[in-house]
């Protein structure tokens, strides 16, 4: 197992490792800029995101850098507000994914009993249908609240985490220091949190970026389909969907939110890629 050997190092060395590659540098700039826009862009918005200020579908011009949307709202103002919901929901979903996924993986990998196959088979069921379908079914059953979206996305993402953590736990459990702790008679709980968990952080964090970007894609797609966040809330996916009808008169109303989303995801992927390379390097 590759990343297992790497010992956790401080956040500073992780950052310098990411900055060592061109991809990492570009990715970090994209990530910082898009996350800043998503979280704080609203403070710089010239108009209210829900206020109608002119003719629907008006092309970009003075006063409205990106033109107006399909019902005459300022596109720039809406784009500046629109990343927040997607970013926060995807972030929460990722946190929830790891909270549940790591727990399942640790317990399954350490149990050496029927619990292991039972947990893993249940988790596998989630992989037997398309991810988006799971989320759509959740929305059908429980409505399209933010909480439902976060839970649904987390459920779709967690099988991968559980599998990786399980196999890493299986491997670490046979190491001398874990067996020594078992011989000392330490309770399972402290074995897992103090012996196993700290030694598999490399494996756990290697996929973090990947899952976060997948979370963003799923949340954005659900919003695009109109079954997630509801109008008039500004949201990137929703904006692309709403403004398709005016792509001929003001294409910026579609292109701007699509680009912000694209740059955010590319940023996450590049940083994540650079981080994995750094993990691989530190094991050599």
């Amino acid at each position: 197992m590759s990343a297992l050997a790497s010992v956790t190092r401080g956040p500073r060395s992780v950052l310098s490792g990411v900055l060592r590659t061109n991809g990492g540098r570009v990715g970090l700039v994209l990530l910082v800029v898009t996350v800043f826009i998503a979280l704080f862009g609203g403070f710089f918005a010239p108009h209210s995101p829900t206020e109608t200020v002119g003719i629907p579908g008006a092309a970009p011009g003075p006063g409205h850098l990106l033109g107006l949307d399909f019902i005459g709202r300022d596109v720039l103002s809406r784009v500046l507000y629109a990343g927040r919901s997607t970013l926060i929901l995807a972030g929460l979903a990722t946190v929830l994914t790891y909270a549940i996924g790591v727990t399942i993986g640790l317990v399954a990998g350490f149990s050496r009993s029927k619990v292991d196959p039972l947990l893993m088979r249940s988790v596998d069921i989630l992989l037997s249908v398309p991810a988006l379908l799971v989320i759509l079914l959740f929305v059908t059953g429980f409505g399209s609240g933010s909480f439902v979206l976060v839970v649904a996305v987390a459920l779709v993402l967690l099988p991968g985490v559980a599998r990786i953590v399980r196999s890493a736990t299986l491997e670490v459990s046979t190491r001398g220091y874990v067996e020594a702790a078992v011989a000392r008679g330490e309770p399972s709980r402290s074995l897992l949190t103090r012996e196993v968990l700290p030694n598999i952080t490399g494996v756990i964090t290697a996929d973090l970026g990947l899952r976060f970007s997948w979370g963003i894609i799923l949340i954005a797609s659900v919003n695009f389909l109109g079954v997630g966040i509801q109008p008039p809330t500004p949201d990137l996916g929703l904006m692309v969907s709403e403004n398709r009808v005016i792509i001929g008169s003001n294409s910026m109303a579609v292109i701007a939110p699509a680009l912000v989303l694209a740059l955010l995801i590319i940023g996450v992927n590049l940083v994540s890629d650079a981080y994995v390379r750094q993990l691989d390097r530190s094991k050599d």
Partner: protein, 350 residues
């Protein structure tokens, strides 16, 4: 010892040999096939239960759709009786399952509410299903050779300029949501170039093949996402194989590079390639949900999303079970294909 044609795996004596006098054991491949089919059937059954439970979580759903807010307790009860919703959930599931096996997918709550003459779901599902099969089929036919070819090329030329020229764009493009890629393509080919239509409308009863132009952008969107991720995996599989001892031996023995790559390299990367292609095809099943919505293409994805928005639970149920079935079938087909095409895996079956 490793030989140029080395095939890893257990030694021959590890194979389950039929014992003399005892009835020979069934063929391991046959056992594997049956086991795998059984597992797939069980999975599909569990999935169908879960989908059924999910769409019936809120029992009032279908009835509220039909009656709106005007329903009195009496009319609600009457409607529940008409739809069979007053029976226990298990009984409802069983009758739905029996209907499904007979090709009867139940009635649409919305159609009942609007007193449409034919509320049957099966009749409304046929056209979208055919449309989706056309879209997905064309994408799949183009996807398989494209992924294999690009993946093998960048794997052989790993870390050379050609690799970077293909791998970096595919890394970037494969990571984007379909609707972002789709919107950007519409901008390029409709707004800027006026070459292709921004939506892919098909008249009811008409075939999308009558106007092939409308299929180009949806297929292109699917390909960009799927090929991008597939190429990365096939590249890695190829690099792995090319680093093995038997490739080194073949080269040292003076086997021509072309023969090394085709006969030993690609042949041994086959199992990984089949799995990658299967994942790509599975991706298509989910991918069409968004891509059809981007282009308003009247397939099963749009059908599903509209049913979710209308809370038409029986329609959601029907479309979901069809998509789940495709997903499972692709998975099992790949598993079986791998075993038939890669003989060395057969020794690891039992």
């Amino acid at each position: 010892m490793v030989t140029p044609v080395a095939v890893s795996g257990p030694a021959p004596e590890a194979l389950p040999a039929p014992k003399g006098g005892v009835r020979p054991r069934s063929h391991p491949v046959l056992v594997f096939v049956l086991k795998r089919l059984g597992a797939a059937l069980v999975t599909l059954l569990i999935v169908s239960v879960l989908i059924f439970v999910f769409t019936s979580v809120l029992p009032g759903n279908a009835v509220t759709v039909i009656l709106g807010k005007s329903g009195t307790p009496k009319t609600v009860a009457a409607m529940e009786a008409q739809l069979g919703l007053n029976r226990p959930l298990f009984e409802q599931y069983l009758s739905w399952l029996v209907g499904l096996l007979h090709g009867n997918l139940g009635n649409s709550a919305v159609a009942l509410a609007q007193h449409q003459p034919n509320p049957s779901i099966a009749s409304t599902l046929k056209d979208p299903l055919v449309n989706s099969l056309i879209l997905g089929g064309i994408a799949a036919i183009l996807l398989i050779p494209l992924t294999l070819l690009l993946g093998a090329v960048v794997g052989i030329k790993a870390d050379k300029p050609l690799d970077h020229a293909i791998s970096i764009p595919s890394l970037v493009l494969a990571g984007l949501p379909e609707f972002v890629t789709g919107a950007l393509l519409v901008y390029i080919f409709f707004t800027a170039l006026h070459l292709l239509p921004p939506v892919s409308l098909v008249a009811p009863g008409a075939s999308p093949l009558a106007t092939p132009k409308i299929l180009i952008l949806p297929v292109l969107t699917l390909l960009i996402v799927a090929v991008g991720s597939g190429v990365r995996q096939i590249r890695l599989g190829m690099i792995d194989v090319l680093q093995t001892d038997f490739i080194q031996f073949a080269r040292l023995n003076g086997v021509s590079e072309r023969r090394v790559l085709v006969r030993y390299g690609m042949r041994n990367a086959l199992a990984n390639s089949i799995q990658t292609i299967a994942q790509n095809l599975q991706y298509l099943v989910g991918g069409i949900i968004v891509v059809e919505s981007v282009f308003a293409y009247p397939g099963i994805g749009v059908y599903l999303v509209q049913a979710v928005l209308a809370r038409d639970t029986n329609k959601v149920l029907a479309a979901s079970i069809i998509l789940a079935a495709f997903y499972t079938v692709i998975n099992i087909a790949a598993d079986l294909l791998v075993v038939f095409m890669v003989p060395k895996l057969r020794t690891e079956l039992v």
